[in-house]
Symmetry: C2
Subunit: 255 residues, 2 copies
């Protein structure tokens, strides 16, 4: 259950909490084919969507046909709490792969807010973390070179996937195309292509058939000026600087 793993980055959940979250995933689910929109700007959706499987992206379209991806969504992510407060979507959500989502009704949500303060707090935590991610993306597109931006994106998505248990050693699925990466980093797909080749040549990543491998996470973090703090993960990655130090202490027998 990615959502449980996700929220446990923030807080300890009781068995009852976990049962409630498992129920959420058993809400009516919807499957969206790849490359279709789940929600479009201007829509006034009445349900909350929880990603169960697949990748999606939050994006805005510009008049001149360009598109800016402002965040990716992976299993365990909610799109968006806004629905209960803002009247209509200020951006669209599109499926990158085939996407399976649970539709959480207003009523179910209401029940949770009333009866499970632990979960409610954790949901707001998720909302604030995604805001922090937005801030980091502003920094990314505004201040970093193409190489840094892409390295940074790879680091972020790897750690986010790791935190919901979707990595396998040094590898993870990476569904976005080079053109999606371009839309997320404010570059052109041509330049993304050349830059990824360069990252490959440097031995920092391999990326083929939707599989991303990061043999040396710290090196890639260096190349991307990446610092994982903004993700507010509490459990530490085996792949972060701090994580390594901690793990040494935890694993060691001299602790």
């Amino acid at each position: 259950m990615p959502l449980v793993r996700r929220l446990e980055e923030f807080t300890c959940l009781s068995d009852a909490d976990r049962a409630e979250l498992a129920d959420l995933a058993r809400q009516p689910t919807r499957t969206i084919p790849a490359r279709r929109d789940l929600l479009r700007k201007g829509d006034a959706p009445r349900a909350l969507y929880l990603v169960l499987e697949g990748w999606a992206c939050h994006y805005r379209d510009l008049k001149d046909g360009k598109r800016q991806i402002v965040d990716f969504a992976i299993p365990g992510d909610l799109c968006d709490l806004n629905l209960f407060i803002l009247d209509k979507m200020d951006h669209s959500i599109g499926a990158i792969t085939r996407l399976k989502v649970a539709e959480i009704s207003r009523e179910v949500m209401h029940r949770i807010v009333i009866s499970r303060p632990n979960i409610t707090a954790a949901l707001w935590w998720q909302e604030l973390v995604s805001k922090s991610i937005h801030r980091e993306w502003i920094v990314n597109v505004a201040q970093r070179t193409a190489r840094e931006r892409i390295a940074h994106l790879f680091c972020e998505m790897f750690l986010r996937l790791e935190s919901v248990g979707l990595t396998d050693g040094f590898s993870c699925e990476f569904a976005p195309t080079q053109s999606d990466i371009a839309d997320a980093t404010g570059l052109t797909s041509v330049h993304v292509n050349r830059t990824i080749q360069e990252l490959r040549r440097s031995g920092l990543v391999t990326l083929e058939r939707q599989t991303l491998t990061i043999p040396d996470m710290l090196a890639l973090q260096g190349a991307g000026m990446f610092n994982p703090e903004y993700l507010h993960h509490r459990r530490l990655s085996r792949h972060t600087d701090f994580g390594r130090a901690q793990n040494t202490r935890i694993d060691g027998t001299f602790g």
Copy 2:
């Protein structure tokens, strides 16, 4: 009371609500000199700050000495709800002008959450709107030209100031220096300077001694690819497209 005006963009407040908000501004206040930090990355503040007077900015520092401003804060803005959920600041908040803030303690905040659901919802609304603003900033720095970025920023801040009653006709205070604008738009101050001169020459803005004047808001919005929807203002500006149409209908006698 900027905060009251701000929250009334979202909902109708009762007299009791308004009295409660007025109380907030009477909480212990703090005055910070211009160019000093209110909160620094890594701090674990225990109070919530409400801007009463002056301009501030949310920013992140990069290792290489660069700085990215990720949002401005003006009277009526809260910095940040996070404090009650995230353990430490993932960015800094700096005063641009002399800044007067109210310090809202955890206890006071708790009382509000319990007793004034109307205000609580409005505060979350503000949180979500500022997230939407983050998304727009990502688009701004990733996709727009220097001219568009700066025009866009001017439009945004004018409308935000208008919504809290801090504009005067076509003018408003605009405290950030050209160097601040550079840090907010991902440009260099040299290029900001040249671009503002160009906007001036086009007759789109005047900006001197911290006063911004926008003689034709619609023209500037065009130049900045600006669409005010992302601000989620309910009351309509006299200066937006939609606002004009609406006002015509409201003001007209043929309604």
